[in-house]
């Protein structure tokens, strides 16, 4: 594989974390335009951990995930009492706040005679963990996909669990969930925290993959795309948003000649899908039928052997 293919695949992997983050919140029935903030916080926190404090990468990723997750839970606890659109606007406001703060924050320390750290609008350069250890892009891509697989397994387990059913309940009828004895705000704060962790992991990987991060990357378009991935791919299973990312980053990257029209094509695709499949490619109904078919095949197989 050449570096270009590896970069595209790695981007798909890293963006998938933000897509899954937005998906988890969509499941519980809230629309967040601000998941890019936690991606950004994860990136900065992880970068600071490895480049400034010289911690190992796993500690960086862990710190990035925790910082983003705690922040998301905290913001969620403050804003999730708001309903519908009001909550969505508040997520957007918070994300912009984070971006603007990162634009002015300058905290640099000297490492090996060089200044390292966030430098406001200049961004945060020299997150050189990969180079210092001579790790290739391909190897890093494997790390990305190993973590993505881990996260995916965790999400699929949650979906099978009672907690997963509760998340879906909140998404389909939160008043009914409340009347069944479930603390709606509490469960949503939990979902927001988990979503923050997912975005934070993505950001931590991103910072180390590109070796520098700048606030401009975490603008609202990243958050909007993350939402769109879930809507395109469907909310029936965690594979849905991944399909969305693969379609956007993978397919559109593959047909480079339309590069300039990328947003137009993407927008058109979303519009078409929402008309013909309003609940996405893999909605609950379809996922349920697929599962039933697999189960039947499994039973037939067991009976035959």
């Amino acid at each position: 594989m050449d570096d270009y293919v590896i970069t595209v695949l790695s981007n798909i992997g890293m963006i998938s974390f933000v897509a899954l983050s937005a998906y988890l919140l969509l499941l519980t029935g809230v629309i967040s335009f601000g998941q890019q903030a936690y991606f950004g916080l994860g990136a900065y926190a992880a970068g600071a951990a490895t480049a400034m404090l010289l911690l190992p990468i796993w500690a960086g990723i862990l710190i990035g995930a925790c910082v983003a997750g705690l922040m998301a839970a905290l913001v969620g606890a403050l804003t999730l009492r708001l309903r519908g659109l009001y909550f969505s606007i508040s997520t957007l406001a918070f994300a912009e706040m984070v971006r603007l703060v990162l634009l002015i924050v300058e905290v640099q320390v000297e490492v090996d005679g060089e200044l390292v750290g966030p430098a406001g609008a200049e961004g945060f350069h020299d997150i050189r963990w990969m180079f210092e250890r001579d790790i290739s892009l391909g190897e890093f891509m494997l790390l990305i996909y190993a973590l993505l697989a881990l996260v995916l397994v965790a999400l699929l387990l949650i979906e099978r669990s009672r907690l997963g059913s509760i998340f879906r309940m909140l998404g389909s009828d939160d008043l009914l969930a409340d009347m069944q004895g479930l603390n709606v705000v509490g469960y949503r704060v939990l979902a927001a925290g988990l979503a923050g962790v997912l975005a934070g992991i993505g950001g931590a990987l991103y910072a180390h993959f590109t070796t520098y991060v700048e606030p401009q990357f975490f603008n609202v378009m990243l958050g909007v795309h993350a939402l769109a991935y879930g809507l395109i791919g469907g909310l029936g299973t965690a594979f849905g948003p991944l399909i969305g990312v693969a379609i956007d980053v993978g397919f559109l990257e593959a047909v480079r000649f339309i590069q300039g029209y990328r947003m137009i094509v993407f927008g058109g695709l979303v519009a078409l899908l929402l008309i013909f499949m309003p609940r996405g490619l893999l909605d609950e109904e379809r996922v349920h039928r697929l599962k039933a078919r697999f189960r039947r095949r499994g039973d037939a197989h067991a009976a035959g052997s």
Binding site: R162, D173, Q180, L182
Partner: protein, 258 residues
């Protein structure tokens, strides 16, 4: 067990419920009837905490419920069903029941892991029993949206039972049911009462109300106009006037089952 004192709900200038006093004793089946728009559903929504009351108090086994969220009231022991069926269509029948187990007893018994992740063997057995009771034994893996109307009604009933309520509010459970289904429903309501659940039944179908309840309160324009046993209420002049004096569709709906 349930005490309503001066319970009122105003929507702008409309007094949907106007100073309702009511007491439901433990272990009885209490009927709440009245023409359309008389405040029955409003009363239910106030008792389970969907609306905030404009005035008055809701007291449940001695505890004031005012200001408590619906989920807190469920944990105190108040569950309900809905006039228009309200299920989680994207979840399976089994999941619909599973997540409904939120009584303090279940919360304590399930423990952290089984509460949030897998179901224990005991939970599986209890839910299988509930499914059997609701005649939905073979439908556990179906999506709730794929059930027939009668099955959805039975699932709603089973789900309310899964919450182990001490007081169950039934909001027009017989709406749209055939005569035979209504008879079946009457049996289920009595069965639930015999297992120790107090029941407040809001219903238009008089056949059901007169058949299962022990006490009835009649509402009209947000006020209680009569109270007594089914026989007393039927003979009450104010009640007859309220039903016959209103529009044709109302008296038709009321007369249907009578």
């Amino acid at each position: 067990m349930l005490e309503l004192r001066g319970l009122s709900k105003h929507f702008g200038g409309v007094k949907a419920l106007d100073g309702l006093d009511l007491s439901v004793r433990e272990g009885e089946i209490f009927g709440l009837i009245g023409p359309n728009g008389s405040g029955k559903s409003t009363a239910i929504n106030l008792i389970c905490g969907v609306y905030a009351e404009s005035a008055g108090t809701v007291r449940f086994s001695g505890q004031v419920m005012n200001g408590k969220a619906p989920h807190e009231r469920l944990r105190a022991g108040i569950a309900r069903t809905f006039q228009n069926i309200r299920l989680f269509p994207n979840l399976t029948v089994w999941q619909n029941l599973w997540v409904a187990q939120n009584s303090p007893r279940d919360v304590a018994a399930q423990g952290f892991l089984s509460r949030w992740f897998g179901a224990t063997r005991r939970t599986r057995r209890e839910l299988a029993e509930l499914l059997e009771l609701a005649d939905l034994g073979h439908k556990g893996d179906e999506l709730a949206s794929n059930l027939a109307f009668g099955e959805q009604r039975r699932l709603e009933f089973a789900r309310a039972a899964a919450a182990r309520p001490r007081l169950l509010l039934l909001d027009e459970p017989a709406a749209g049911m055939s005569r035979q289904e209504i008879e079946d429903l009457g049996g289920r309501i009595r069965g639930l009462r015999d297992s120790g659940v107090t029941i407040l039944l809001v219903e238009h179908v008089m056949e059901l109300v007169m058949g299962v309840t022990e006490q009835i309160a009649v509402l009209n324009f947000g006020k209680k106009i009569a109270f007594g046993t089914p026989g007393e209420v039927q003979r009450n002049e104010a009640v007859q006037e309220a039903y016959l004096g209103t529009s044709a569709s109302d008296s038709g709906a009321a007369g249907e089952g009578a």
